[in-house]
Amino acid sequence: MRTMSFDEAIEEVLALAMADDPRIVIFGEDVQMYRLNLYTQFGERRIRETPISESAFLGAAITAAMAGLRPVVEVTLVDFLGVAMDALLNQASKLETFSSGKWKAPFVLRTTCGGGLGDGGQHQQSLWGWLSHIPGLTVVVPSTPGDAGGLMLSALKHDGPVIYMEHKLLSDFWVENLGYLGRKTVDFDLPLEGMRGAVLETWEPIPFGRAVSKRSGKDLTIISIGVGVHRSLEAAGILEEKGIDTCVIDLRTVSPLDTEAVCEAVSNTSRLLVVDEDYQGFGLSGELAAVVLEAGIDANYGRVCTEKTIPYSQELEAQTLPNKERIVENAVKLMDR
């Protein structure tokens, strides 16, 4: 086993894949200066900068893929997908069905998500539930360097559109370039366990729709994704001191959803707490409740999500995003019910 950062894992997998497959090209906003090492190794033809024209270059990624390229297209923040939604909603997601499976668009949309750097409600959303709502899109959200590399490898091999979402707090690059910015005077609640960690000597693809158990426990199941997994693990440590034995599941992909792992884990404890940094209403947390209900599992249910627009104030932001205090409080409530 080796140890590396979340960013390094993604970069290594991309570099290895690009070296072997000339069809892989990267394009997006500021990619030459943001991906310095890839730009150096592969040059300006394969690491191509775009204008701030998301609807054009994301739309182009789809047909470039249909015509034989394997684009990795970067949109700086998932929030910026708002201006380019047609490409995902009506084009990429529909192709396979409309062509009855005869034509596919194998591209990866690489974007960042999540909050905690004080950037307010237009630059810190999660939106994986919103994206997963659309049939035909694969949505992955790794929480560790090992998963980041393994899921990127699967994304590059996948024959359809994959939205690959990197939580900004897991990335040294984004924490520095949106948060610290050369300062030592600010503090962010960083999930260190997810920023750096063990990875395989040789990368193996991690199949989509395969959740992983991060901690076993018999009293309560917490299901989460992204940075929520690390907040949940911290909370599980506190709950242990209170005598509550908590299992933590990392979904790793939102769509496809590992319903089997969800049902099994909830059956074991009969208590499900969903920790989801995405918006609470009409999203992943409700979907997980539906999965459990449809399977006829009798369980207590609760959720800790982002309930409203993320405020700018650092104090209010910390209260709005799922944090370990809210997770512990809601877990205890579930035990009492």
């Binding site: 090492n37 150096t40 190794q41 592969f42 004080g118 700018y312 104030s313 209010l316």
Partner: protein, 338 residues
């Protein structure tokens, strides 16, 4: 009419001093995230905003502080907003990219290009409800490749909206040279939409004032929209702590940690040709150097330019600067008070 340079300089100087306070509290860590400072844009803001009238509207981008200050927003409210306080302009909910004042018909957004449609809507309301008033849309040249901005240019012409599109062109879209991702010339492009289009040196406040004044008169008289291309610099780069500037200012500290990985990438036998690899390396070094040099030229600082014209009356200038400094010092103390 001739511009009142003393008044314009006062607005610019006040904005600069205010944002220097913002910079200081950002460096102290009292502002958690990004901070897009308006240093270098003051002449564009002053030349336009000082001519606005009651009922005129502003659609702002992520750099809204100078126009809002010049429009008459209480500076303490802005500073408290940046500090995330409940007594800030937006209750600490918005932060510097999301500033709103219904009283001043001013709305900001952190989404590039969105001030185009926002300006069009303000202008439509002006046409219906407040004849003779107008709307301004501020954006950078990076935004001119964003579909919604181009769509709103067409809409403004089709509906003959009283709207002025103000493009603050510093030639950089964060770390990307705008020219490398932009086809044609922006003035020609605007003319292609049927827009009245004007180019101006955005570091010369009197020139901006004159060009904007004509565009405003035209809009108020029902003559329709104008595209105003104003060239400027961003003296602190895209935002405070901008990587390219840090790399240019302190190459040893900022670049040395990158050298190992860059050399490893450059010596991999797979990938681009050795010429391509060398071109990338050269480009990285050049951009770090050029961004800093181009943006921090003293002669492109709008305050330096305006001040030179006023320096002959040193007493009046010093009195003005002292008065503004006192005000901003009071604002800082008031905002930081519990």
């Amino acid at each position: 009419m001739e511009p009142d340079l003393w008044q314009l300089y006062k607005h610019m100087y006040r904005s600069r001093l205010f944002e220097q306070v913002v910079q200081a509290i950002w460096e102290q860590g009292l502002i958690s995230g990004e901070m897009h400072i308006g240093f270098g844009e003051e002449a564009i803001a002053a030349g336009i905003v000082c001519q606005l009238k009651e009922g005129d509207a502003m659609a702002l981008d992520h750099r809204g502080t100078p126009p809002l200050l010049m429009r008459g927003i209480e500076p303490t409210l802005l500073l408290r907003e940046f500090l995330g306080r409940p007594d800030g302009l937006c209750g600490g909910m918005g932060g510097h990219m999301h500033l709103f004042s219904s009283e001043h018909l001013s709305a900001s957004s952190g989404i590039v290009g969105s001030s185009g449609p926002a300006g069009a809507g303000f202008a439509l309301a002006a046409q219906h409800l407040r004849p003779g008033t107008l709307a301004i849309a501020f954006f950078g040249e990076g935004a001119t490749n964003q579909g919604m901005l181009l769509e709103s240019m067409n809409l403004a012409v089709a509906w003959q909206l009283p709207l002025i599109f103000v493009c603050k062109d510093d030639q950089w879209s964060i770390t990307t040279r705008s020219a490398s991702v932009t086809g044609g010339q922006l003035v020609e492009r605007a003319k292609g939409f049927g827009l009245h289009a004007v180019e101006v040196d955005g570091t010369d406040v009197e020139a901006v004032w004159r060009s904007a004044g004509e565009a405003m008169e035209r809009a108020r008289d029902g003559g329709g929209p104008t595209f105003l291309l104003a060239h400027c610099v961003h003296i602190e780069g895209h935002f405070l702590g901008f990587t390219l500037f840090r790399a240019g200012r302190d190459p040893i500290k900022e670049m040395v940690p990158l050298i190992g990985p860059l050399l490893r990438s450059a010596t991999k036998w797979k990938g681009g040709s050795s010429q391509e690899k060398m071109r990338s390396l050269t480009d990285i070094a050049t951009r770090a150097r050029d961004a800093l040099q181009e943006q921090t030229l003293k002669e492109k600082d709008p305050l330096v330019r305006a001040r030179q014209k006023l320096i002959s009356d040193r007493d009046r200038l010093e009195a003005l600067e002292t008065e503004v400094s006192r005000e901003i010092q009071d604002v800082k103390e008031a905002a930081l008070k519990d």
